[in-house]
C-alpha cells in the first residue's frame, strides 16, 4: 500500500509538484516570468507568475480537474499574446482569445484543452497595398489596408520596433498568415501580428483628451462628460445599473471600435449583447453595431485565471485599433471580478494579504490598467484614443472598499450609482451630487461653440439640484407645505429636471439615445419654463397654477419625440403662450 517518494520520476524534465485550484507549482521548468506553459497531458494553458528556486508557480487558464503531481509541463517560451489582424471585429472570444462560436460547434458547453486560433487561417482578405517597393517603413506605419466590413478600414501596420525598406509588396487576396510584404532584411509582414497582453503597445506621445465622447446619455453628456481617451469608473451595488450603463455606452458612444469585456459576470448578459448588437444600427456608420464591436467573455463560472487575463486581452486589442488612428472605447464589466481573481490567485500563493484579503499589488495593477487609456500620437504621427470605462462592484455597496478607492484614485470621471435611485426606478441611477468629471473644462469649449450657453446651462442645472438637496433637508424638518412659494417652486423645477431630463429609459426606442442637440434643447426648455415660473411667483402667482400649465407635461414628453426639433419649437411656443396668459396684462 505505502509507496515511497521514489515512485515519482526523478529526471529533470519539468513536472508538476502541486495542484491547488488554478495554481500549479512546477519543478524544473527553467522558464521566465509570464512564459506561457502547457500543463498536463491535456496541455492546459497557463502562465508563470512566480519563480522560487527550482519551483515555478503557474496560474492555469482552465479547470485543473484531475491534473496530478508528476504530470508533464511544456514551456512555450513566449508570454501570453493575442492575435491582431482582420477578423477581430464582430468576434466573441473567451478570456484568452479563443473564439466562442467555433468552440460552440463542438458542444454547447466549454470543454478543456481546446486550441482554436483567434483569427481564421482560411479566410482570405482583400489587401490593398499603399506602400511600394523601395519605401522605407518603421513600426506603426501602414503598408496597406483591408476593408474588414462595409464601413471599416483595417489598416495593416508594421509591428512596433520593426523597420526597413520594402523589397516586395503586393495587393491581392491573402489569409492572415500569408506574407504580404517583405523587407530588405528578409522580415516578412503578414496581415496579422502578435502582441504580449501585459505590455502596453508603444506610441509616440500622450496628449490631453479634449473631445467629448458623445454617449447620448443625458446625465453623462450634459453633466458629467467623458473625453475620448479618458477614464471613467462606474461603481454601484448590484442592480443599480452598471451593466446597462456599460451596454448603453457600447451601443451609442461615438467611438469607431468598441471592446466590451464581460469579466466574471453573467452568461446571459453576453448573450444579450450577441442578440442585440447585430440588430442595432450604429448611428455613425449605418452598419450593425456588432460590426464595430469585439466581445471578450469570461463569465463568472469560467476559470478565474482566464478572468484575470481577459482584461489584458481586451485592452491590447483596443490599443491595436488605436494605433490605426481610431477612437476606441473599452468597457470592463466588472473590474471588481478581475480584482477578486487576483485575490483568489494571491491567496493560493499564500501571499501576505492587504486590505480585505486583496494582494498588496492591487493598486498598482489597477493603475497600470487605466494608464493604458489615453489620447495618443501614434508611432506614425496619427492620433488615436482608448477610452476606458470600468464598472466596479463594491461588496455590500460600500464605496470605501479597496477596489473602489484604488480605482477612484486613477480615474477621472466618476459616475456614482445609487441603490436608492434604482429602487425607485430612477434610471440611470447616477447620483448627481456625488458624481464628477474632471474633463469638463477640457471638453466644454467645443460644446459651447456648437451650443451657445451649454456651460452656463450645465452650471444652472447643477446649482438647482444642489439647492433641492438643501431644501429637502428643511422639508424633513418642517414639511413641504411650510416652505415659501419660491422654494416650493425650486423643488418642483428640480423634480422636472430629474424626471423629464435626467431619467432616461434604456429600453425605450427613442429615449435610449439622445443626441447632443436634443439634450441642449431639452435643457433650454426646462430653463425657460423655470425663468418664467420664478417671474410668475414674483408676481404672486401660485405654484399650483404654474404646475397646471399645459406646457409642463409637454416638456415631460419631449424625450420620447423622435422629431425633436419640431417638437421643441411647439413646446417653446406653448411655454410662451401659457405664461403670457398667466401674466395676463401684467407682463411688461
Amino acid at each position: 500500500m505505502e509507496v515511497s517518494l521514489s515512485s515519482y520520476s526523478s529526471n529533470t524534465e519539468p513536472r508538476i509538484y502541486k495542484v491547488a485550484g488554478p495554481v500549479v507549482i512546477v519543478e524544473n521548468l527553467n522558464g521566465r516570468m509570464y512564459d506561457v506553459v502547457l500543463v498536463g497531458h491535456n496541455k492546459l494553458m497557463g502562465e508563470v507568475i512566480e519563480i522560487e528556486g527550482n519551483k515555478s508557480i503557474v496560474q492555469v487558464y482552465e479547470d485543473t480537474e484531475l491534473i496530478k503531481p508528476d504530470d508533464p509541463v511544456e514551456n512555450t517560451g513566449t508570454p501570453l499574446s493575442v492575435e491582431l489582424g482582420p477578423g477581430l471585429l464582430a468576434s466573441i472570444y473567451d478570456g484568452i482569445q479563443r473564439p466562442l462560436p467555433l468552440i460552440a460547434e463542438e458542444s454547447s458547453f466549454i470543454r478543456r484543452g481546446v486550441t482554436i486560433p483567434a483569427l481564421s487561417r482560411e479566410k482570405k482578405w482583400t489587401f490593398v497595398a499603399t506602400k511600394e517597393v523601395g519605401d522605407t517603413v518603421k513600426g506603426g506605419d501602414a503598408i496597406g489596408y483591408v476593408d474588414e466590413t462595409a464601413n471599416f478600414r483595417h489598416h495593416i501596420l508594421v509591428p512596433p520596433y520593426t523597420k526597413g525598406t520594402i523589397r516586395d509588396i503586393a495587393s491581392g487576396e491573402f489569409t492572415v498568415t500569408d506574407t504580404v510584404c517583405t523587407l530588405e532584411d528578409g522580415t516578412s509582414l503578414t496581415l496579422m501580428q502578435r502582441w504580449p497582453v501585459k505590455k502596453h503597445r508603444p506610441f509616440y506621445d500622450k496628449r490631453w483628451p479634449d473631445t467629448v465622447l458623445v454617449t447620448g446619455q443625458r446625465i453623462l453628456d450634459t453633466l458629467f462628460p467623458l473625453a475620448k481617451g479618458g477614464t471613467a469608473a462606474i461603481p454601484g451595488p448590484f442592480g443599480s445599473g452598471k451593466t446597462i450603463t456599460q451596454q448603453q455606452l457600447a451601443k451609442w458612444a461615438d467611438a469607431d471600435v468598441i471592446v466590451y469585456i464581460g469579466c466574471g459576470e453573467r452568461g446571459n448578459e453576453m448573450t444579450d449583447v450577441l442578440v442585440e448588437f447585430p440588430e442595432l444600427v450604429d448611428p455613425k456608420s449605418g452598419s450593425p453595431l456588432m460590426d464595430r464591436t469585439v466581445l471578450i467573455a469570461n463569465t463568472s463560472n469560467m476559470p478565474v485565471a482566464a478572468r484575470e487575463a481577459s482584461v489584458y486581452t481586451g485592452i491590447t486589442i483596443a490599443e491595436y485599433f488605436r494605433d490605426m488612428g481610431y477612437d476606441v472605447a473599452l468597457m470592463a464589466d466588472s473590474t471588481s471580478r478581475w480584482a477578486e481573481a487576483m485575490r483568489e490567485i494571491s491567496s493560493r500563493l499564500e501571499e501576505l494579504p492587504g486590505e480585505e484579503g486583496y494582494p498588496a499589488y492591487l493598486a498598482s495593477r489597477l493603475a497600470e490598467f487605466y494608464e493604458r487609456a489615453g489620447r495618443i500620437e501614434t508611432l506614425s504621427g496619427g492620433e488615436g484614443s482608448v477610452t476606458v470605462i470600468g464598472a466596479v462592484s463594491p461588496q455590500g455597496g460600500d464605496f470605501s472598499e479597496p477596489v473602489t478607492q484604488n480605482t477612484l484614485r486613477v480615474t477621472k470621471t466618476f459616475w456614482a450609482l445609487d441603490a436608492k435611485l434604482a429602487n425607485r426606478r430612477h434610471f440611470p441611477a447616477i447620483n448627481w451630487l456625488k458624481s464628477y468629471s474632471l474633463y469638463q473644462d477640457q471638453v466644454t469649449p467645443t460644446l459651447e461653440r456648437s451650443y451657445p450657453g451649454w456651460v452656463a446651462n450645465m452650471k444652472r442645472l447643477m446649482e438647482l439640484l444642489s439647492r433641492e438637496d438643501e431644501l429637502s433637508e428643511i422639508v424633513q424638518l418642517v414639511g413641504s407645505d411650510a416652505l415659501p412659494e419660491d422654494q416650493q417652486m425650486t423643488l418642483e423645477i428640480a423634480r422636472m429636471v430629474r424626471e423629464y431630463f435626467l431619467q432616461q429609459d434604456a429600453f425605450h426606442d427613442v429615449d435610449t439615445f439622445c443626441p447632443l442637440e436634443k439634450q441642449y434643447m431639452m435643457v433650454n426648455l426646462l430653463l425657460s419654463f423655470s425663468d418664467n415660473a420664478y417671474r410668475a411667483i414674483e408676481l404672486n402667482k401660485h405654484v399650483d397654477e404654474i404646475l397646471d400649465l399645459p406646457s409642463r407635461p409637454m416638456i415631460a414628453r419631449m424625450k420620447y419625440e423622435r422629431d425633436y426639433k419640431a417638437y421643441s419649437k411647439k413646446v417653446s411656443t406653448q411655454i410662451e403662450k401659457d405664461f403670457n396668459e398667466l401674466f395676463g396684462g401684467e407682463k411688461e
Binding site: V19, T64, E65, S108, G267, E350, G479, D481, R557
Partner: protein
C-alpha cells in the same frame, strides 16, 4: 487501486494524506473506517508531499488506521429519467424506500460551463399569479431569481405558491420541479414534501434532502447534485425544470467551515475570498441552450443574517443572480401577505419577458409608475410621522395614501389567490388612477388615453 493508510492530520472536514502516488486534483475519494463504515470526499489540494482530502460527511471515527481510496475520477452522479418522483438524501441515496435508481448516464456534478454563444436569451413570461412578481418583478423561464428573506418569514409559503401556480400562458408543457433542501429543518422539509404530494407535483419532481441534522459538509455537494439532475431533465429530456434551492445561507456556512479548516486567508466577514466564484458555479447553472427544448429556472431561497442585505451571502448572490425578490419583515409585521417589498426587488430579465405580444404593451410603463409612486409615498410616510400629515402639500398627501392603497390592494393577496396577469395589470391601473393623470410622467400619453380611469372608481385615500 490507490489506497493508503497514511493519514497524518485531521482538521475539521479535512484529511492530510501522505506518501501517495500522484493523485489528481478534485479526485473522488472514499474513506473506509476500521469498522467498515465508508465516507465520501474529494481532493482539495494535491502535491508530491501530501494530499488534502475534504470529507463530505462528518469526520467522526476517522483515525490514522482509516483507509483512503482515490478513485482516479471526479465525482459523478448517476442520472436517470426515472428519478422523477423520488426523494433522495443530500448525497443522492434514496430515502423513500423505493427501488434503486438504474443510471442512464453518469454526470460530473460540477456541471459544465455553458458557452455564452450557445445560450438562448430567456424571454418567456412565467405567470406566478402573484402581483408583486408578475406585475413588477416578472419571472422569466430560464431565470435565476432568488428570494432574499429573513428567519421566520414566510419565504417557503411564497416559494410553494410560485411552484404551485407557475404557468407559461398558452402552453401545456412538460414541467418538473427539483427541490433541494440545504440544512433546513425537518418541519420545513415536510412542509414542502407534503405540499408536493398534495398537488401531485412530486410525481414530476425530484427531492434532495440535506437537513439541519445532516453533516454540514455534505451541503457542498447537495445543490450540485440537484442541479446536475435538473440539467439532465432539462437538456436531455426537455423538461422545464423549476429548481428550488433552500437555504443558500447554510451552503455558504459550509464553505466557511472548510475555509477555516484550511486556514485560508478570509475575504469579507470571514467568508472565503472565492465565495463569489463558488456561488457563481451554482447560480450560473440556469438558462436555456440553443437547440435544446428544456430549461432550468432557479428559485434559490436565502435568509439574510440579521436581515442585512449587505451581508456577503445576499450581497454576492445579488451580484450573480438575475434579480431578487425581497421578503420584508416590516410588511410581515403589518400582516401583509405576501410580504414582498418591491422597492429593493428586481427582475433583470423582466424587460425581455413582458410587453406587447407577451403580457401587454403598457406593462413596463405601469410598473415603472407604480415603483415611482410607491417609493415617494414611503418617503412621505416617514416624513409624515415627523412633521404630521397636515404639513404636507396636497400632492404629497395623495402619494401618501397611494402607498397605503398599493400595499392593501396590490401587494396583499390570498395564499391561494392566483391572479392572471390581466387582473394584476388592471389592479395597477385602478390604483394609479387615484393620482392625477398629469403626475403619471412615466406613462406615454397614448397609454394613459387607453387605460387611465378618467371616472375614478378606486376608493381614494382609504
Amino acid at each position: 487501486m490507490k489506497e493508503y493508510k497514511t493519514i497524518n492530520k485531521i482538521a475539521g472536514p479535512l484529511l492530510f494524506v501522505e506518501k501517495t502516488e500522484p493523485v489528481g486534483y478534485k479526485e473522488f475519494v472514499t474513506v473506509t473506517l476500521s469498522n467498515g463504515e465508508t465516507k465520501r470526499g474529494q481532493v482539495l489540494e494535491t502535491s508530491k508531499d501530501y494530499v488534502i482530502v475534504q470529507v463530505f460527511e462528518d469526520t467522526q471515527g476517522i483515525d490514522k488506521q482509516t483507509y483512503v481510496h482515490f478513485s482516479g475520477e471526479i465525482i459523478q452522479m448517476p442520472v436517470s429519467g426515472k428519478m422523477l418522483g423520488r426523494v433522495l438524501s443530500g448525497i443522492g441515496t434514496p430515502l423513500d424506500g423505493g427501488r434503486k435508481i438504474i443510471p442512464e448516464d453518469k454526470r460530473n456534478i460540477q456541471g459544465e460551463v455553458i458557452n455564452p454563444y450557445s445560450r438562448t436569451r430567456p424571454n418567456e413570461f412565467i405567470q406566478t399569479g402573484i402581483s408583486t412578481i408578475d406585475g413588477m418583478n416578472t419571472l422569466v423561464r430560464g431565470q435565476k431569481l432568488p428570494l432574499f428573506s429573513g428567519s421566520g418569514l414566510p419565504h417557503n409559503e411564497i416559494a410553494l405558491q410560485i411552484a404551485r401556480q407557475a404557468t407559461v400562458t398558452g402552453e401545456e408543457e412538460s414541467f418538473a420541479v427539483v427541490f433541494c433542501a440545504i440544512g433546513i429543518t425537518q418541519e420545513e422539509a415536510k412542509q414542502f414534501i407534503n405540499e408536493f404530494e398534495r398537488t401531485g407535483a412530486l410525481q414530476r419532481g425530484v427531492v434532495f434532502l440535506n437537513l439541519a441534522s445532516d453533516p454540514s459538509i455534505e451541503r457542498i455537494i447537495t445543490p450540485r447534485m440537484a442541479l446536475t439532475t435538473a440539467e439532465f431533465l432539462a437538456f436531455d429530456y426537455g423538461y422545464h425544470v423549476l429548481t428550488i434551492l433552500t437555504d443558500m445561507t447554510n451552503y455558504c456556512e459550509a464553505l466557511l467551515e472548510i475555509g477555516a479548516a484550511r486556514e485560508e486567508v478570509p475575504g469579507r466577514r470571514g467568508y472565503p475570498g472565492y465565495l463569489y466564484t463558488d456561488l457563481a458555479s451554482i447560480y450560473e447553472r440556469a438558462g436555456l441552450i440553443k437547440g435544446k427544448s428544456g430549461s432550468v429556472t432557479q428559485l434559490p431561497i436565502l435568509t439574510m443574517p440579521g436581515d442585512d442585505k449587505t451581508h456577503p451571502v445576499p450581497d454576492l448572490s445579488g451580484y450573480i443572480t438575475e434579480g431578487q425578490i425581497f421578503v420584508s419583515r416590516n410588511l410581515y409585521r403589518k400582516n401583509v401577505y405576501p410580504p414582498i417589498d418591491v422597492l429593493p426587488s428586481l427582475s433583470r430579465l423582466m424587460n425581455s419577458g413582458i410587453g406587447k405580444g407577451k403580457t401587454r404593451a403598457d406593462h413596463k410603463a405601469l410598473s415603472d409608475q407604480l415603483y415611482a409612486g410607491y417609493a415617494e409615498g414611503l418617503d412621505l410616510r416617514g416624513l409624515a410621522t415627523i412633521v404630521g400629515k397636515d404639513a404636507l402639500t396636497s400632492r404629497d398627501q395623495r402619494l401618501l395614501s397611494f402607498a397605503d392603497t398599493f400595499e392593501k390592494r396590490f401587494v396583499m393577496q390570498g395564499r391561494d389567490e392566483n391572479r392572471p396577469i390581466e387582473t394584476t395589470l388592471e389592479l395597477g391601473w385602478d390604483i394609479l388612477s387615484t393620482l392625477p393623470e398629469d403626475e403619471l410622467t412615466r406613462i406615454p400619453g397614448d397609454m394613459l388615453e387607453a387605460y387611465y380611469r378618467r371616472e375614478t372608481t378606486a376608493d381614494e385615500g382609504d
